[in-house]
Symmetry: C2
Amino acid sequence: MLDKFFNPKKVVVVGASRFPGKIGNVIFRNLLDKKFSEFCVNPKAKSIYGKKCYSNVLQVKGKIDLAVIATPAKTVPGILDECGQKGIKNVVIISAGFKEVGNLKLMRELEKVIDKYKLRVIGPNCLGVFDSYSDVDTMFMLKQRLHRPKKGDISLVSQSGALGAMILDLASKKHLGFSKFVSYGNAIDVNETDILEYLGKDKKTKVICMYIEQIKDGQRFVRVAKKIKKPIIVLKGGMTSAGRAAAKSHTGSLAGSGEIYLGALRQAGCIQVKSIEEMFIMAEAFEKIKNLPKGNKIQVITNGGGYGINAADLLEKAGLRLVQPSKRCVKQLNKKFPAIVSVNNPMDLLGDSTNERYDLAIKACAKDKNNDLILVLILTQVPLINERLANKICADAKKKPLIAVVTGTGLADKISKKLKEKGIPCYEQINDAVTAIKGLVFRK
Amino acid sequence: MLDKFFNPKKVVVVGASRFPGKIGNVIFRNLLDKKFSEFCVNPKAKSIYGKKCYSNVLQVKGKIDLAVIATPAKTVPGILDECGQKGIKNVVIISAGFKEVGNLKLMRELEKVIDKYKLRVIGPNCLGVFDSYSDVDTMFMLKQRLHRPKKGDISLVSQSGALGAMILDLASKKHLGFSKFVSYGNAIDVNETDILEYLGKDKKTKVICMYIEQIKDGQRFVRVAKKIKKPIIVLKGGMTSAGRAAAKSHTGSLAGSGEIYLGALRQAGCIQVKSIEEMFIMAEAFEKIKNLPKGNKIQVITNGGGYGINAADLLEKAGLRLVQPSKRCVKQLNKKFPAIVSVNNPMDLLGDSTNERYDLAIKACAKDKNNDLILVLILTQVPLINERLANKICADAKKKPLIAVVTGTGLADKISKKLKEKGIPCYEQINDAVTAIKGLVFRK
């Protein structure tokens, strides 16, 4: 039944406004000219952007799949009741002024209406829903401030609207593709676990990201998460005493002991991250890598000795292993490489490396059983490599999971862009690549 | 005596070449038309880029301060002897083919010449020297591949040439200013501690960054480092067994036990980092922050509750403290803020925050004794803040160390650029800001 939030045929905005900048204006405008038809309710207006304005939802003709309410808090229970009368089953309440300001009486009134009509409600006090495929978008942030990300496989659930909005905006900057976003605010009805369950079955979602401060029903969350085969990347707010105090004042959440959550999330098979940056890095890796690594053995290929050493240090600290290439691999490469290149792990192709030397190295390592994933480091300050290196890497990356680090100006940006377009996770810094590898290897 | 490496009046390049792409060509061209005069030695050429070509250094008239040698390894001892005869005291040997390929005999020949004339030699097998102020630049990387960073206060010493080159290139991309760079390669004479000592006294260096795999004389290093008041940020390669094995094959370095180095570097008062990214983050913070924090109490100001909670979590995990604002500060702000804003730590100014609300908050916190540093988080997806916020923050940041995190597209880039120009460290992600704060608070 949650599907109507993401794929409605008819949507009504209650509290739509004629005045640019108003929340009800931004929401209605963002829903215009989409694949669904949209209606507006505002007793004070005749029409908004050329669309006839109704004084209440009951007057709108035909079946409505989704209502978005953006009116003052005290009017919401009455409007929700009208939605129920009208037979609208899915409602997003954007309006604030309920639990978060201590208005529990108003919350109870909403709950009664929800029970009466068996509604599914997202909110109140939230940004609602964004779907890059169906174009549903109830976020009241202007598009010039909050750039919407392109279509993709990552979906996001966030207890904090602002944090979620920032993640989408950053995703657009980093050219990461998103499928769905839900900000559920006070969670009067639909909560984090309901959305998780839905996304687990959603065909357009490959990676699930979550920001949560509190989980309402921990046991159900663990049960639901365990069944989902997709990676679930969780940033839990309030893991320390300082964070918990802040969470309490933010959404009134009792964020609970960090250790209990840590254990529950681990039991649920979630991948826990400490920051938004880690969430992005891992989401990108899981979105792009099709053949997940089967073990923790990493082969490093580099054209800078020092960079290879730094990678070895960071990988070992992260619990990953560098095993020497097999004899067969060494023999094969020794035949083709100049004597000065030694076939090790890290394999240092040296500063005078060419595209071809990288190609040979990756091809041989992709066949080698002594590694489960190849980490290719490319310093672009040297003269003999060029943009075509990206093509070679893409062609070689099909047999083994491969992650690239490309560091520098100009040429680095070109190579990195090409690799990403071809679905190879690519980072500017080794530590980010190691974070990604950690996620891929130590998943569930 | 090391000063002539950075501030020579006359420089000679031995092995200068007419052919673009050749190492001796790149080096000579990078030294043309600078504040010093330059000469070239190549017995096969008459002139290079219009400059008369000599068949050896003895033929060059007048006193030469610095020679750069880029000829085949076997010719280097003879050329170095001629440098000695000519009275050149400072020599950079770029040429490879010595210790790193096991040619110890050739190393001993060089050592004899160095002793004979009491020369100061950087290299062999190195990139040599870069100085953004004097324009000395012996790096054989083309400028279109290795963009040189702008003038600034950070100096870098790197045992790995490639890693050092990459750091400079990235610095130019990130608009970080650098003063000096030394790649010392096999360190036949001048080593990491010599350069550290020089940079400790150098007026154009405020922050020292080092990449080292091996320290030749640990006790002297500790002694020298201890005396230096400037921050010394060290990335030590080969801290794990995998890294040590790689270091051995890279520069033949016996990288030694990670724990021994950890202890020695701590004793020396160095700030240890695990990655290039951490090095950049801390270098930028130390370069920009003029009044270092006096303690570990951090006040967080945010317009996104979830972001504030994440900051609180990361700060507490890093050993930093969030103390509530003083009664006086709370009273003062309560008078001016709408009732819904609660004056806490993190202080959540809410999504409808204006420039003015940030201004009031920062001003009050800058005077508050309950914090030693202010961390300002700005999510730019909301409508009521704009570019002018940067000016307000800059004006307020004079009384207390302040670090900013600005996250988003468009507006975020504008605010962040302005803050950086005015000397305020500014990051896109909270975890980077926390890394910077850790460095600033837990320095020496």
